[in-house]
């Protein structure tokens, strides 16, 4: 029998402590949908946890913007290298 993670065995409403333990996985959409819904419900009602969520969402959003600096010239050269492999 597969042992379910602790948070999937819970049936009571999520507490601040529980949400704190799974918040990062929740932000990464790496969570059982049923449990995610309960976390979302808690975040709606709890100002402290909601602020935590907003803070980390801002950090994640900013990090996702960091990738704009990729060198397009380098990628173009690599595509040309790929063509040289298949044309040769």
């Amino acid at each position: 029998m597969i042992r379910r993670p602790w948070y999937r065995r819970k049936t009571s409403p999520a507490s601040c402590r529980e949400v704190g333990r799974v918040l990062q996985s929740y932000l990464d959409n790496d969570m059982d949908p049923e449990w995610a819904a309960r976390v979302a419900e808690h975040l709606e009602a709890c100002k402290h946890c909601g602020l935590e969520e907003a803070t980390y969402r801002e950090i994640k959003a900013s990090l996702s913007r960091q990738k704009s600096s990729v060198n397009e010239d380098a990628v173009a050269r690599l595509r040309e290298f790929g063509r040289s492999l298949t044309d040769g």
Binding site: Q24, S25, D28, D30, L51, A54, T55, Y56, E58, I59, K60, A61, S62, L63, S64, R65, Q66, K67, V70, N71, A74, V75, R77, L78, R79, F81, G82, L85, T86
Partner: protein, 186 residues
């Protein structure tokens, strides 16, 4: 194990189908791994060449994961060759085709974002390498936990643990050096 017979035309077609669409992602991952533009380009070329030679053995499933494994092995060899005493995690990954952020913010918000982004970049640079690499793979390049675990050859739980600790460090760095508390200027 002998290679399946594959003619040159099939080899080229498979390369165009499975490898070429991933070049952009491979380069981004290589930048995360090598932290050097020239090394990154060399690593991707090495990866492409190995992939071209091995494409006859590829079953067509999960090309990105397959390419990342090739890249990981190529990087291991390169590091061993250059600095055998400094063997480290060949962090890398690729970029799921994340949709670009919608550019719908007003000018004031964009200026605020730029200041915040600069502070985030500084916090990212201040992270120890093993944390920074995971953040770059998952948060910057949008790889899944599983993809990041594959390229770094560590368990998924390790990725999660490093990622979560790294984000906490970033937050503390913002508070201590960037003047941001809870994501806003203090």
């Amino acid at each position: 194990m002998s290679d399946p017979v594959i003619d040159e035309r099939e080899q080229k077609a498979a390369f165009d189908r499975y490898v070429v669409p991933e070049i952009d992602v491979l380069y981004r991952v290589a930048r995360s791994i090598t932290r050097n533009a020239t090394d990154a380009e060399d690593l991707v070329q090495d990866t492409m060449l190995r992939a071209y030679r091995a494409i006859g053995r590829f079953d067509g499933r999960h090309p990105r994961a397959w390419l990342l494994t090739i890249m990981r092995n190529a990087q291991i060899n390169r590091v061993r060759r250059k600095r055998p005493e400094l063997m480290r995690d060949p962090d890398a990954t690729m970029d799921r085709v994340a949709s670009e952020d919608e550019d719908d913010a007003d000018p004031e918000a964009q200026v605020l974002d730029r200041g915040y982004d600069a502070a985030i970049e500084s916090a990212l640079d201040a992270l120890p390498e093993k944390f920074r690499t995971v953040v770059e793979l998952v948060d910057v390049q949008a790889l899944s936990y599983q993809e990041a675990a594959g390229i770094l050859d560590v368990p998924t739980g390790t990725i999660m643990s490093r990622l979560h600790r790294a984000r906490t460090r970033i937050r503390k760095h913002l508070e201590q050096h960037g003047g941001y508390v809870n994501g806003r200027p203090a």
